[in-house]
Structure formats: C-alpha cells, structure tokens
C-alpha cells in the first residue's frame, strides 16, 4: 500500500536549537500513530513542517506522491491534511455551532447546517451548540478544535496533544469521541501525546522523538518498553549499571 505521508531527511534549526535533525518517516493509510517525546523534543515542529507553517531547512515531505514543501497551510489543508492545535485555535466570539458552520462552509458542504449538526452530534457537542467558544471549558475547546479540523474532510488528521490541559478522568472520554469520529471519517491519524496510558490504548504505532531525532519507532509494546524511551521520554530513573 502506498504511503499517505513520507518525510525524508527533514532538518530544522532555530538558532542553536536543532528541532529536527534528519527526520525520515513513512505513514501508511488508515493507521493511528502516536508521536511521543519530552518537552521540546520536536513533535510540534514536525507537525508545523508537514502543514506548511514552518519550512524545513532541508528535506522532502510527500503527501501521497506530491512534494508539499513550500506550500502554505491553506493550500496543504485544501490538499487534504488538517490539524488541531496544542492550544485550541477557535473563533472565540462565535458560538460552537457557528464555529462549525464556518468550517463546513469553507469545506463547501452542500448543506453546512446539516453537516454542522451532524458534527455536533458526533462530537457530543450539541449541549454546547449555542455557547460562545471563548467561554467553554478546556476539554470542550479541545473537542471543538478537533471537530473543526475533521470538517475539512481531510485524508490525514494531525492532532497536537488532544488531551493536554484536560483532567485525567476526562482524557479517555475525549479520546474515545475523537478516535470514534476519525474512524467513521476513515482518516489516517497522527497524534502527539504525553500520557502513555492514552498512547498504549489508542495508538497502533508509536514514534519517539528526542532532541529532534527519532529514537524509537514501532508497535506500542516494543517502543514503550525500550530502555531509551523509558529514560528520555517517560523519564524513569534507570540505574546506569543497566544501561
């Protein structure tokens, strides 16, 4: 099966900080991949390069067959990659429903009203439909952000920490809703996550970042057990003798 997304030798530095040092990754369609790594490891930078927000210093990014380096976020969104943000990016003075209406209308749905209602139901946002996005609790803002990203009927959905800033007992509920919606939409999902229980539960493949490089890539079982991942990502104390 041909890959949805292929990154080849991506490099990106901010001054002395190497946010991406030779990142090469291939993503097959239909899978759910989790990107893990400590703060500052380069996970968001990777998403920013894929969506055209940042231009890699060198390297190639193929969406299907097409090289998308240098295209604007708007063009890339139109090609079929959408994303949610670490800090939800919403229209704060509009209601939840209006936020979705903007998204559905841009996506040129025949009937944006019906599409918005469908999304409201799928994301369990209907009770909040009339509320201003700026006044919502964080968990709901996260859901709305993801639901707007999915409105563009993309092939590839990138989620930057969909459960950050949300209480521990809400996290699984939110992920259940998000992943359920993604499955129905049939999109490939790449999500950044710090909570390893969430990763173990929802990811089919895990990629571990450290200092702009990939230090592990494979099934959740193997990656989450790997020693360097436990040391550099999960932050366990591992006696040096064992290293």
């Amino acid at each position: 099966m041909s890959a949805v997304l292929t990154a080849k030798g991506l490099q990106k530095s901010f001054g002395a900080v190497r946010a991406a040092a030779d990142i090469s990754l291939t993503f097959d369609p239909g899978i759910v991949v989790s990107l893990i790594g400590a703060n500052g490891a380069g996970k968001t930078t990777f998403l920013n390069m894929v969506t055209g927000y940042l231009r890699p210093d060198s390297g190639q990014i193929l969406f299907g067959e097409r090289d998308i380096v240098g295209l604007s976020p708007r063009r890339i969104t139109k090609l079929g990659i959408s994303r949610s943000f670490q800090i939800p990016q919403l229209f704060n003075s509009l209601s939840v429903r209006e936020n979705l209406l903007v998204a559905e209308s841009i996506a040129a749905m025949d009937d944006p009203q019906a599409a918005a209602d469908e999304t409201l139901a799928r994301f369990e946002l209907a009770p909040y439909a009339a509320q201003k996005a700026g006044l919502l609790p964080e968990g709901i803002r996260k859901l709305l952000d993801v639901s707007m990203a999915l409105s563009s009927r993309s092939k590839l959905l990138l989620l930057d920490e969909p459960t950050s800033g949300v209480s521990a007992d809400e996290k699984f509920a939110i992920m259940d809703v998000v992943m359920g919606a993604a499955r129905v939409a049939g999109v490939t999902v790449i999500f950044v996550e710090h909570d390893m229980d969430i990763v173990a539960r929802f990811a089919g493949r895990v990629v571990a970042f450290y200092d702009g490089s990939i230090i592990a890539d494979g099934s959740p079982d193997t990656v989450l057990r790997a020693e360097n991942v436990r040391r550099y990502v999960i932050g366990e104390e591992i006696p040096h003798a064992a290293a």
Binding site: F91, S93, A103, S105
Partner: protein
C-alpha cells in the same frame, strides 16, 4: 422578512420626509444618509477587525467623480453620477486593497490614513480642480427625467433613500450569512481560517473593496446634496467623523450607522447654530461618554429596552 418590513418602512418614511419636510431638513437627512452608507461600509470592514482611518479617500473619490462628470464631461444625470462615484471608488479600493489587505491593526489604520492624505494633497494642489475651494456640480436629470428647479434635493433624497436601503439590505444579507461569520473568524483567529482552507487576505480584500465602493456612493450622494465638492471631503477629520459615527452607533445592527449619522448631523446643525465654538469639544465629550458607558454604541440602549420590555 423582518428586514424587508424595516426596509419598506424606512423607504416610506424617507419619501414622506422628502416630499413634506422643509428644505434644511431634507438637506440634513441627505447628508445623514450619505454618511450612513459610508459608515455601513466601514462596519463591513470592521467585521474583520480592521478600522480604516482613511475612508475620506473613497468618499472624496466618489464626490469628485460625480462632480467631474457634471462639470467637465457635461453629464447631468444624477443616477449616472451615483453609479460612477461608487465604481470609481471601488476601482481604487480594488487596487489599494491589494496592498492594504496584507496589513493589520495600527499599520492598516495608518496606511489607509496615508493614502487619503495623499489624495488631499493632490486635490489642494490641483488648480484645475479648484484647489482648496473645490468646484460646483449640477445634476439636471435623474434617470433621464428632467428635474424641476427647486425640487432636485427632494428627488435626490428619495434616490439616496433607495440607494441606502438597497445597500443596507445587501449588507444585511452578506453579514448575516457565511461571509459575516467568516469575517468574524478572520477577526478572531486568522490561523484557524487558513487551517480550514480559506484565505484571510481574500476576506479582508473583499471587505475593503465593499467598504471603498460604499464610501464612494456616499461621497457622490453628499456631492449631490451639497452641490459642491472640496478637498475637505478627503481630509482626515472627515475620515475621523466616519469612525466616530461607527463607534457612536455600534456594530450590532445594519441600522445603527444611519441612526448614528442622523444624530450626528442633527447635533452638528444645532451646535453650529448655538455653540459654533464648542462643537469640537462636545464631540470629544460625547465620544468619551460613549466609550465609557456604552462601549457597544447607542444600539445597546435599544437592546437594553427590548430586553427589559
């Protein structure tokens, strides 16, 4: 439906005013309508979160286009003047908008101001256009029908009312639907707009163009009302007046610019009769009071009454 009723009622009221009111009131109403149209355009632009301090540019272009048609090309039809005024201003906005749509906040405001001052400078220096004195215009027909002397203004007020109502209905439709929400989206979060696949630049550009064309229409209306144009129409104080009226009315309703412009013109007429020296100061005090007590404009008063009723 509600909009259609308000439109018909406004049209009827203005027609009655045009036929029955004394000349000075007809004149005042026409200026209020002209400015209301300009300010409504400003409201469309403000939906994207941008304020232009240079709408005098388009107001002036609309007015001078109408006057030039009359004075130099001997076109004497008011309807042609109005359309040409709006078209010329729209054309200029289409050009300058290419640049301005890339700017935001204070840079946008100052750049728009700068362009209006350039036109002011050019007009003041142009002897052929009467320099600081400007020149007169005279419309003798309206849609080809000859205007009897003495009733021109009354006909113009009806024409102005029709223009204003049509423009207001269009703006109401535009802002009440997808485009209005998208414009608010651009104001709230351009990043999200781009990441949904739309262009914030394009939204700002189109709204800037609309605002420019409407200011041109308003300028042509004002030129017909006064029968005279001068560079003052493009001066920054004129642009400031539009922003003032916009804040006075608030952005809640399509009607607000017209109500606010009427109040503004009435106040000015009264003040220039009884207190010509403190007019500017009263303006300042009024502005202060509004920003402090009615930050969403006079329209909040109407809303409050409706809620308590």
């Amino acid at each position: 439906m509600k909009a259609a009723i308000v439109a018909i009622a406004s049209l009827a009221a203005l027609t009655a005013l045009a036929l029955l009111a004394p000349q000075w009131l007809v004149f005042m109403a026409m200026l209020a309508l002209a400015k209301g149209v300009v300010v409504l355009g400003l409201l469309v632009l403000m939906r994207t979160g941008l304020v232009s301090f240079g709408q005098g540019l388009y107001f002036g272009i609309g007015a001078y286009t109408a006057a030039l048609l009359s004075h130099h090309l001997h076109v004497a039809d008011a309807a042609v003047m109005l359309l040409a005024g709006a078209a010329a201003a729209g054309l200029m906005a289409a050009l300058l908008g290419l640049l301005l749509a890339g700017y935001r906040d204070i840079f946008f405001a100052m750049l728009s101001l700068a362009f209006s001052m350039i036109l002011y400078g050019v007009l003041v220096k142009s002897a052929a256009l009467g320099s600081t004195d400007g020149f007169n215009l005279h419309a003798r027909t309206f849609f080809g029908v000859a205007l009897a002397p003495g009733v021109e203004r009354r006909v113009f007020l009806i024409a102005g009312a029709v223009c204003a109502v049509v423009v207001a209905l269009l703006a109401h439709r535009l802002l009440g639907g997808h485009w209005g929400r998208l414009s608010t989206g651009v104001r709230d979060n351009e990043l999200r707009v781009a990441y949904l696949g739309a262009s914030p630049y394009r939204v700002v550009y189109v709204n800037y163009l609309i605002a420019g064309a409407m200011a041109g229409l308003g300028g042509a209306l004002a030129a017909l009302a006064v029968g005279h144009v001068d560079p003052e129409m493009t001066y920054w104080t004129t642009s400031g007046e539009f922003v003032f009226i916009a804040i006075l009315g608030g952005t809640q309703s399509i009607l607000a610019p017209f109500v606010a412009a009427s109040i503004f013109e009435a106040l000015r007429t009264i003040a220039s009769q009884y207190a010509p020296n403190v007019w500017q100061m009263s303006l300042g005090l009024a502005m202060l009071a509004i920003i402090m007590f009615l930050p969403a404009g006079l329209w909040t008063l109407a809303e409050r009454r409706r809620r308590s009723a």
